[in-house]
Symmetry: C2
Subunit: 174 residues, 2 copies
Amino acid sequence: MDYMNTAPTSADPGEPRWLTAEEQRVWRAYIDATTLLEDHLDRQLQRDAGMPHVYYGLLVKLAEAPDRRLRMTELAMSAKITRSRLSHAVARLEKSGWVRREDCPSDKRGQFAVLTDEGQEMLARHAPGHVNAVRQAVFDRLTPEQQKSLGEIMRIVAEGLQPSEAGADLPWLR
Amino acid sequence: MDYMNTAPTSADPGEPRWLTAEEQRVWRAYIDATTLLEDHLDRQLQRDAGMPHVYYGLLVKLAEAPDRRLRMTELAMSAKITRSRLSHAVARLEKSGWVRREDCPSDKRGQFAVLTDEGQEMLARHAPGHVNAVRQAVFDRLTPEQQKSLGEIMRIVAEGLQPSEAGADLPWLR
DNA sequence: CTCGTGTACTTGAATTCTCAACTTCCACCA
DNA sequence: TGGTGGAAGTTGAGAATTCAAGTACACGAG
């Protein structure tokens, strides 16, 4: 009655196309795996590095950016989170000393988030543990073909939900 | 410096096995897709049904359970969340009228979460929109082979993170 | 120059989630 | 029969997230 329907497929546009039994199985596996994995990584990083997985991801993005800095909006887009969420997150990371804010000289509204040396060091310290967790949970369990397939599938899904990644620098429309 | 290393593979157990460039691409696609999808579904359900995706999932599990009821711990395990989180969630769903609690006659510590008629109706009302969102974001974009592959991969990952799903009714060890 | 529209980012309040107790009860053993 | 250890569930405080609104600045049209 919820995901599945006993009735045969219908061409009626008002009648929703329910998930088949097999599609349901796939979808539930997806929900289970993503829930468990997110939880697992959050726990690992909270315990070892004292921050949730998302925050760690922000530091990684900064570490890879030229000059270890990114405009707030760029960082938000890159991490696929809202600017509001990022503002709160950076405030917290700033308090912990991993990130510092800097004014943008060319646009007085703008702010850079900059990875501090302490942030850099802490990444270096905890990256091995994190990579290990990811490997254990995902890559060590999948064949090379499955890894490739996972990449393709996830790219398709992400692309479908991105407003216009291909188009241009178009905004964060919500 | 974070996920990848320029150095060749090492047999040193103290040296972490970094992700290759290709593995990184897969991992980032995974993070992007799951973040965007979770956000998308949360928004859709919050707008239409007034609750986050996890809460909706709880109602679905109850709807499928015999007698539309489940013990708290069973529901928590089934949804892959902690009992604490579930307690808060059910308290909220109870306030909204979709769920009601009932004492377990055979175990005075136990509680059933029961889907109310209002909860049932609201599921029926919003299931089409939700299925549609899932379809649009995932199934309509993937070939049958990709769907099958996704299911297998996600089952493997979930299985790896489950303490002992195969073993028995063993507990929720954290 | 200034008005209006839009961009960049922040803020506060309400909601949700985590973590560590805590309460109550069951089951078993001596 | 009375402990005792564990299981079921809740609670409260703090952290994170969402949503709607707010401030400050940019930029083009007139």
